[in-house]
Amino acid sequence: MQNSMESTYPAEWHEADRLEIQMLGFWIYLMSDLVIFAILFATFIVLGQNYAGGPGPKQLFDLPYLFGETMLLLTSSVAYGFGMVAMQQEKKNAVLAGLGAAFLLGAGFVAMEIHEFYGMIMAGHGPSHSGFLSSFFALVGTHGTHVSFGLLWMAVMMIQLLIKGPTVVVRSRLMRLSLFWHFLDIVWVGVFTVVYLWQVL
């Protein structure tokens, strides 16, 4: 009885039930995040052709560069997945290697995006220039911010894994970060299709 008073979960629940409900809760958060992205996509689709006399997608976007960014994020996602397989096999060092690779590849993605943004803003094509650029920076910037926070989370998890080891709590957090990281790659598929490729076409 005392046990059920302290916990927010019924006492008869097992660790597995708790993990499952936490994963579903995080999944529902991701769905709400998807709604934010949907609104930003809708804004971009509406404003994306308003160049206000400024440069359009054909002048601004470098598709081979974008392909590089896309590959970095995809391989980062797969590297994280390899880390999760290693976690299942109880290989702590392999988990750390997977997370480390995912972190570096993700950081490469963010660095490339910052470089792209910096070049555009320095050339005078910042978010205040036109409706197209405002909605571009809002959407792509929101995604980039998510990836950056994902990297911060990943760094924290690597430290926790080193200090605490693969405890139940650390493993459950790693599984939710896995959802977050793969989810951001899915949003990126929408971004490179709608924002870049469709507009250049």
């Binding site: 993990l19 709604v35 995809l74 996602s77 999760m84 976690m87 299942q88 598929v189 076409l201």
Partner: protein, 108 residues
């Protein structure tokens, strides 16, 4: 001791093979998308359709191979919530495009 409880829940489908298959499919679909735009060999209207088909296929690949979403019992609620969210996204995006498009035509 406690750690063994987790084994049979959400990690049950995870394998290197899954991730490698997903990765190869995702790379192929990405190359198709970029190829449609960079080569310019396909007529524009067809290329736009191709882009969205490739994107939808790639999202499905990511969901199945990376997020392990399928019709199994353990994924039931994840599937229901994502289906509901997909409906919401359709209303938001298609609704916005519809409203702004008619507004534009009436302002002409």
């Amino acid at each position: 001791m406690e750690q063994t409880h987790i084994e049979n829940t959400a990690t049950e489908h995870v394998s290197y093979k899954n991730y490698i298959t997903g990765f190869i499919l995702a790379v192929v679909l990405t190359i198709i998308s970029f190829g449609l735009v960079l080569t310019g060999i396909v007529p524009k209207q067809l290329a736009v359709t191709g882009l969205f088909v490739a994107a939808a296929a790639q999202i499905a690949v990511h969901l199945y191979y990376f997020l392990h979403l399928d019709s199994s019992l353990s994924q039931r609620w994840n599937l229901i919530t994502i289906a509901f969210t997909a409906l919401l996204l359709f209303i938001f995006i298609a609704g916005t495009i519809w409203i702004m498009h008619t507004l534009n035509t009436r302002m002409m």
